[in-house]
């Protein structure tokens, strides 16, 4: 049986979509207009340098005024026994994966919102509660959100978290790239605290260069792949690692942007409201003809 990989499917899918939506393939471009290369900042996560001290988790909570246990409790490494995900109580978390070989150290990987160049959440949100800022940050606006959770359905990284236990004003919680801090020239809290500088903050384009140089310099240390350079049209946060990315919880994703297909269908169906109006006119015509025929029938 010819076994096709799931990824191949989505490639076919993306190609097909251009035809079915009746639009030109230029609509499915790699970057949305929200992405401005000159201004886009990013973070390069070098997982080979991470030791899993989880100070980023602590700093994140402090920076966002979220309740946190004392700093000492973060030394507890038993939390790595299970795979965690960012949720409404922690916008970033670190998971630990086994090392490449028996005698190598476990690999610690920090997870948070990737701040996609073409964010699915921004495209999906029914009320535009998500916004992609020129510096790459994707933020959420609680004054608009209606709590439909479509952003969670759309996100390819399963990042937005919802406060399911709240009956009134439940929030969508996700990393905001410390927007309030970067606005005043500060570094994101996690970047600032990281003892090993696993997280390098800088211009996204520059970070991509640095990442490739590092791979070139240490070909034995790194997998030749900068996760987030092209995935779903590129992300602000990118990863380097010594082990295949899917084994470190970084999913195998296509290069096409997450909202590309659905946006082209939407825009195809509603191109200047022509298709709906045309349908209206046709139906009206049919109705008119049938009515006249009926009337002439009865007159006879």
């Amino acid at each position: 049986m010819p076994k096709q990989s799931r990824r191949d499917f989505f490639k076919t899918t993306a190609a097909l979509s251009a035809v079915t939506a009746g639009v030109t393939s230029t609509k499915i471009k790699a970057e949305s207009k929200d992405y401005i290369p000159d201004k886009a900042m990013g973070v390069l996560i070098d997982t080979t340098a991470c030791i899993g001290c989880r100070r980023c988790e602590w700093a994140c909570k402090v920076a966002h005024d979220m309740p946190t246990a004392s700093l000492d409790t973060y030394n507890d490494r038993t939390v790595f026994n299970e795979m965690r995900r960012p949720d409404h109580t922690a916008l970033t978390i670190v998971n630990e994966y086994p090392g490449k070989e028996l005698d190598q150290f476990p690999i610690d990987v920090k997870f948070q919102c990737m701040h996609c160049n073409s964010p699915a959440c921004v495209s999906a949100c029914i009320v535009k509660a998500f916004h992609k800022h020129p510096n790459g940050t994707v933020t959420w606006d609680g004054d608009k959100c209606i709590g439909c959770r479509y952003c969670m359905v759309a996100c390819p990284f399963q990042i937005p978290a919802f406060e399911f236990d709240k009956a009134i004003e439940p929030d969508i919680k996700k990393c905001d790239f410390c927007f309030e801090r970067t606005k005043v020239g500060k570094l994101p809290a996690c970047v600032e605290i990281c003892p090993n500088e696993v997280l390098t903050y800088g211009k996204r384009e520059e970070l991509i260069d640095i990442a490739h140089k590092r791979i070139e310099l240490y070909p034995d240390k790194y997998i030749d792949h900068v996760f987030g350079e092209f995935e779903v049209g590129g992300t602000s946060w990118m990863y380097l690692s010594s082990k295949e990315m899917p084994k470190l919880g970084l999913p195998d994703l296509p290069r096409a942007t997450a909202p590309g297909v659905s946006e082209s269908i939407q825009h195809g169906l509603f191109a200047y409201f022509v298709p709906p109006l045309a349908l209206y006119a046709i139906l009206g015509g049919v109705m008119w003809i049938n009515k006249n025929r009926k009337n002439s029938d009865t007159e006879e």
């Binding site: 995900r85 495209s123 029914i126 209606i146 439909c148 359905v153 209206y280």
Partner: protein
């Protein structure tokens, strides 16, 4: 034949043993619903950050919209194509659609974390969002449905406005208002009828676009860029089976003679519609070569096969068989299968096919979620029963004495 039939309120006892069961189910559902509004969504449902949407969206909303498609398909058949023969079923279908969409709206509100902001999409637009399109269309269509239903209300109450107590002072002015509305609507109804069909086509398909953005999270058996087309085609093909299903049930329930002739006429249309839907579904599968996933046996492939075989192919064969479409049980079974197929399709699309990248387990709806869903269905049936007893919806043999348009005028 139709001159002997006239829509009239049905005079029967409201409470029957079956109705009592429905009331109990509805009460349980409303209790669960109350808990959701007091303690939050997490208290009642099994939804999580992994599975943000469950059966409240997959069944209550998506299936609700699909099964209410009878409203626009019969409107198109009866009014736009002007097949007068089918006028008798337009009103029940309209009532079902109006009720269905009302419950869709209520379900959406139940599922919204911040339900009190449900009006936000009206002023905060996002043209890129399929959900925005669905939301706006459903809101407008719901309004259109109520407008389409208004003539039934005016027909019932013109000349019979009889408010109790001090409100009786308004009797006259309300009567005048109703007559005014009736006159206006009579002239403008075609605008709303066409709008209803257009809006339905738009949001039935956009409902399919909804899940496309989930990309790889959705199983390739269902994830396809033609999802909107498949949703529209399945909605159109489930519209008439739903009308048949309902008509047979209500005629049994109210001990009326089923309108065999009309139903058979509908059945003849269903065959080709189902065939088109099947062709697109198979064609999509062949083009994307997604059939390879059917070669291995697991929950996903089994459910897809059931959806395809039991939900489309079997009823398709039945609707093309003369002996089947002639008999009421045959029609009923075939229609039920189509409905089941669409039910399964919506459930598959929104729940079964959805596998988040960091899933730790499957999503299984909680008792609370199921109770709310069943509660809404029960409530809908009860309101339908009440409505057909109040309003002239279901056509019955016309009593000889009534002649004028407003049969109860001056009573």
């Amino acid at each position: 034949m139709e001159e002997h039939l006239k829509p009239m309120p049905i005079k029967r006892k409201f409470i029957t043993p079956g109705v009592l069961v429905l009331i109990i189910i509805a009460a349980l559902g409303m209790t669960a619903l109350l808990l959701r509004y007091i303690f939050g969504i997490g208290f009642v449902t099994n939804l999580s950050n992994q599975y943000p949407w469950g059966i409240w969206i997959g069944l209550d909303v998506a299936l609700g919209v699909a099964l209410a498609a009878g409203g626009f398909t019969t409107a198109a058949l009866g009014h736009i194509l002007h097949k007068d023969k089918y006028h008798a079923i337009v009103r029940p279908a309209l009532l079902t659609a109006a009720l269905g969409y009302t419950f869709v709206a209520v379900s959406v509100m139940t599922d919204l974390g911040r339900w009190y902001y449900i009006w936000h999409p009206l002023i905060m637009w996002n043209g890129n969002s399929a959900l925005f399109e669905v939301g706006i269309c459903v809101m407008i269509y719901l309004t259109v449905l109520y407008i389409e239903f208004l003539p039934i209300v005016t027909e019932r109450f013109i000349g019979r406005v009889n408010l109790p107590g001090f409100l009786s002072a308004f009797n006259k002015s309300i009567d005048k208002l109703l007559r005014f509305l009736d006159r206006i609507l009579d002239k403008t109804m075609f605008v709303f009828i066409i709008a209803g069909v257009v809006l339905s086509c738009l949001h039935q398909s956009s409902l399919g676009t909804l899940m496309i953005i989930s990309g790889q999270k959705m199983h390739p058996l269902w994830q396809t860029p033609v999802l909107p087309l498949l949703f529209l085609l399945s909605a159109i093909s489930v519209g008439f089976p739903m009308v048949i299903f309902e008509s047979i049930i209500s005629s049994r329930s109210f001990k009326l003679k089923p309108e065999t002739d009309i139903l058979k006429g509908l059945a003849d249309i269903i065959g080709p519609l189902l065939a088109i839907y099947l062709a697109f579904k198979i064609g999509d599968m062949v083009i994307r070569k997604s059939f390879v996933y059917l070669m291995e046996i697991n929950t996903v492939s089994v459910l897809f096969t059931i959806e395809l075989v039991v939900g489309i192919i079997v009823p398709l064969r039945m609707f093309f068989s003369r002996t089947m479409t002639k008999s009421i049980p045959g029609l009923f079974i075939a229609s039920s299968l189509v409905i089941l197929g669409v039910l399964l399709n919506r459930l598959n699309n929104f729940v079964v096919a959805y596998t988040p990248p960091y899933a730790t387990g499957p999503y299984i709806p909680s008792v609370g979620e199921i109770l709310v869903t069943l509660g809404f269905v029960a409530l809908e049936v009860l309101i339908y029963r009440a409505a057909v007893m109040i309003f002239p919806v279901i056509s019955q043999p016309k009593p000889a004495e009534s002649v004028s348009k407003y049969s109860v005028k001056g009573v």
